[in-house]
């Protein structure tokens, strides 16, 4: 039954989600970019690739880095003015937001420097792999801090284990497709097993994410706040978001799989389209997540 409370709740939810579009973009792209970088770093460190293909992949690492940077830049929209950019870091250690920003900046910085060094004419046979490991590790930290930034005790709808799990799974979904897209962009014939593994990771993460998001919504139906008897009523469209997001994500995976099956590798076009679809799917669910914002007082 639609009550006044429901209308006010839904309006509040959508309004909050719209206000946080930049953060929705950040939490879509930054963790996906980091995850993709980690996967590609593993590939570069352990797979047998010829020098030319390795060099070209080194250059194309700019793709996941750029995706992560777009999100990081978008997230600063709510800072307001340049002076606030550094002041946001003064809370490192005690503020989840500061930790999240610092981790993102450190990852972006390490990955950026590593990418620039990929163009050096000097081989740097020890330093480049070392920096790659450091950048990948900082990517792991970035995903951890980004996903745990929303475990805020006063926000009852977010202070659930599902929040962090969903974020990590979204990173896995987006990162796998982004990694596949990056490999496709190089136009080199990369390891078919690795590309299959990327698709498998995306598929597994997608299934797990749908389950986790559904469980989260069921849990929220049992939670209440100061004004709402059921916290879930603030975003009754969340199940639709789960369904639409899941469908688009699966479409992305199917497209990628078909390309792999037909051409023995992911083509550039299917890589781009799959990646765009997957990131779009993640954005939809992130939008729904921000619409769920409910403090103990509301």
């Amino acid at each position: 039954m639609i009550t006044l409370d429901t209308i006010i709740g839904v309006g509040s939810g959508i309004s909050h989600a719209l206000d946080q579009l930049s953060l929705a973009l950040f939490t879509t792209t930054a963790p996906s970019g980091s995850f993709a970088f980690i996967l590609l770093a593993i590939y570069l460190l352990f797979a047998k690739i010829d020098d030319q293909a390795r060099r070209r992949l080194d250059h194309y690492l700019v793709i996941p880095i750029a995706v992560a940077l777009v999100g990081l830049i978008a997230s600063t929209n709510h800072l307001g003015k340049p002076a606030n950019s550094l002041y946001v870091l003064t809370g490192v250690g005690r503020s989840p937001l500061s930790n999240e920003v610092l981790a993102s900046v450190v990852f972006a910085g390490c990955a950026w420097i590593r990418w620039l060094l990929g163009y050096s004419s000097r081989p740097m046979k020890r330093f480049k792999p070392l920096l790659l490991v450091v950048a990948a590790f900082s990517g792991v930290i970035q995903i951890w801090f980004t996903s745990s930034a929303y475990s805020i005790p006063t926000v009852v709808s977010w202070n659930l284990a599902f929040t962090q799990v969903n974020q990590v799974l979204a990173a896995a979904m987006g990162g796998s497709m982004l990694a596949a897209c990056t490999l496709a962009a190089t136009k080199d014939a990369h390891s078919r097993s690795f590309e299959k593994a990327l698709v498998a990771i995306a598929a597994a993460a997608c299934v797990a994410a749908i389950v986790s998001q559904s469980l989260q919504y069921i849990k929220m139906e049992t939670l209440s706040s100061g004004l709402l008897s059921s916290v879930a009523s603030i975003a009754p469209f969340y199940p639709i978001c789960i369904a639409v997001s899941g469908a688009i994500a699966f479409g992305s995976i199917v497209l990628c799989s078909l390309s792999l099956r037909k051409n023995d590798l992911v083509t550039r076009r299917s890589g781009i389209v799959s990646c765009a679809l997957m990131l779009g799917a993640i954005f939809i669910i992130r939008f729904g997540f921000y619409a769920l914002y409910t403090t103990a007082g509301i």
Binding site: I73, K81, P82, S85
Partner: protein, 552 residues
């Protein structure tokens, strides 16, 4: 780049290559780093009149000093410029930007950081400027011009995209992302430079007359752009007290760059044309003069429009100047650091003088007197002075008969006619080192090749070979050889200089003689010859002569 009649567009077109992208980034960095361009991105309370003036004067003086030092250094120590230009540009640019950011957070040391930032940004901006100019000058003419113009065309797009970036991080983007990326593109482009070209191998102190000739032939061009720079400097002074003027000039400079590049590229797609700074100045002079004269008449809140137009005109002329500098380096085998440094020193001297004059008149004039009158008067005066020199000044030295036009009032020197009656003229000595098959023409050419004794502009010194060309136009042919050389030029996309040298080769001149005629080094002649042989797909001068003979 392909030749032999095929399109000059690179294979990756329309996707920009690293040279195009890197140069576009450099122009955006320039717009945001120099002349306080980044100031709009800082809070309003940051850019006080004192801060803005301190930054702009230190940055502009250090920029000019870097140009002067490079011009002198390129002449005395040319090999030095081959190293570390990109690092010399990139590091100060990044550190300078961080100095400005530090000024934001440490207000106690604000002025010190602003001054340090200004100096570093000036030096860094100049370093990157030279690095890119070196690259474009080293490329084939069509490739170099295409990449430069394409970069200038997409720079405004990148600049305006910056306004989409949240203001909180806009100031950080320049030193952290754009400068390293620009530096990377510069490194990758520099790797493609052929440093065995004469413009890099040349030792200027061994050919001082070549460099002196460059100054003699092109100081008017530099003066023309400098006059527009003076006007732009005064406009910049107005921006100290009026932020909207600063915004307008930044935006106008980007638009001017894009418009200049777009127009030239668009014309190039469909037409063959030649351009130089003097000609562009003659076209732009009326517009600039009208804008300056309109300053006192325009309401104060609309002054930024006039300021923007003046700056746009300057940027347009400056873009043409860059192309011309590269062409001079190629054609004459002259160190491009010297050429660009020479031009830039004059232009930026004028710009700085204009800036200081504009600021001084703002401070010195009584409040009741509108300083836009001073801007209008001084700016128009300098433009008019430049116009006077560009049009030839008041030269009364003798000129050859062929430059008289039908309605000119002629004064033929009575003294030279008495001392050199026609029957006493001697034949020139034959050139013993030439092996041309075109013997009758060779002897005739030998007589006519003797360079004019009174230092006329370069075009006139080869007047016996070719008819008097107008500014930058292809020389007009006088005989069968010239006509066929022109046909080859059209067919194989030779530049004007290459055509002139090819004709000199066909007429049987030795390398030494050609170098003497064109006031270039022998190494430069050999470089041009290599290009000619490659474009014509021949291996010897006799092959060119045979090609000419076979043409009907």
């Amino acid at each position: 780049m392909a030749n032999n009649g095929t399109s000059p567009l690179p294979k990756s077109w329309p996707i920009p290559n690293e040279a195009v992208l890197g140069y576009a980034l450099y122009l955006v960095i320039n717009a945001t780093s120099l002349w306080g361009g980044v100031f709009p991105f800082f809070p309003a309370d940051f850019h006080t009149e004192q801060t803005t003036f301190a930054f702009e004067i230190t940055q502009s003086i250090s920029f000019l000093a870097a140009f002067l030092a490079t011009a002198i250094g390129a002449y005395r120590y040319p090999q030095f410029l081959r190293r570390s230009l990109i690092v010399a540009g990139g590091v100060p640019l990044s550190v300078g930007a961080f100095c400005l950011i530090a000024a934001l957070y440490l207000p106690v040391f604000k002025m010190a950081f602003v001054v340090a930032g200004g100096i570093l940004l000036g030096v860094g901006g100049a370093g990157f400027s030279f690095a890119w100019q070196r690259y474009f000058a080293a490329e084939e003419p069509e490739a170099g011009n295409f990449y430069l113009l394409s970069g200038a065309l997409i720079a405004p797009v990148i600049f305006f995209c910056l306004y989409v970036v949240p203001i909180a991080v806009r100031v950080y983007l320049v030193p952290l992302i754009m400068v390293p990326l620009c530096g990377l593109c510069a490194v990758l482009s520099t790797r493609r430079i052929d440093f065995s070209q004469s413009q890099f191998e040349d030792v200027p102190r061994e050919h001082p007359r070549v460099y002196l000739r460059v100054i003699q032939d092109h100081w008017r061009s530099a003066l023309a752009v400098g006059a527009l720079g003076f006007a732009s400097g005064m406009v910049r002074a107005g921006a100290i007290s009026d932020i909207s003027m600063g915004d307008a000039t930044n935006i106008a400079s980007m638009i001017g760059t894009g418009v200049a590049a777009g127009l030239m590229l668009g014309l190039w797609m469909h037409r063959t044309y030649a351009i130089d700074s003097e000609r562009v100045f003659l076209v732009l002079f009326p517009i600039a003069a009208i804008c300056l004269l309109a300053f006192p008449l325009v309401p104060a809140n609309h002054l930024f429009v006039m300021a923007g137009i003046v700056y746009m005109i300057f940027t347009f002329a400056f873009t043409v100047m860059l192309l011309q500098c590269a062409q001079i380096s190629r054609d004459r085998g002259v160190n491009q650091g010297f050429v660009f440094g020479f031009f830039g020193s004059i232009v930026y001297t004028f710009q700085n003088v204009g800036f200081i004059f504009g600021y001084a008149s703002h401070m010195a004039l009584p409040v009741s007197v509108d300083d836009s009158f001073a801007t209008a008067l001084a700016g128009t005066f300098v433009l008019a002075l430049a116009l006077y020199f560009v049009r030839g000044g008041a030269r009364t030295n003798d000129v050859s008969a062929s430059v008289f036009r039908p309605d000119d009032v002629e004064f033929r020197a009575m003294k030279s006619a008495a001392q050199n009656p026609p029957e006493s003229r001697k034949d020139a000595e034959p050139d013993e080192t030439s092996t041309s098959a075109v013997k009758p023409a060779r002897k005739n050419a030998e007589i006519q090749e003797k360079p004019d004794q009174q230092s006329l502009p370069l075009e006139r010194s080869v007047e016996p070979l070719l008819d008097e060309p107008s500014h930058g136009d292809a020389p007009k042919a006088r005989d069968r050889i010239s006509l066929r050389c022109k046909e080859l030029q059209e067919r194989y996309r030779l530049t004007n200089r290459e055509t002139e040298i090819m004709e000199a080769i066909v007429r049987g001149n030795s390398v030494a003689r050609i170098a003497e005629i064109f006031f270039i080094s022998e190494n430069t002649v050999r470089t041009h010859s290599k290009h000619i042989y490659r474009k014509l797909d021949v291996h010897r001068r006799q092959d060119i002569i045979n090609m000419i003979d076979k043409m009907c």
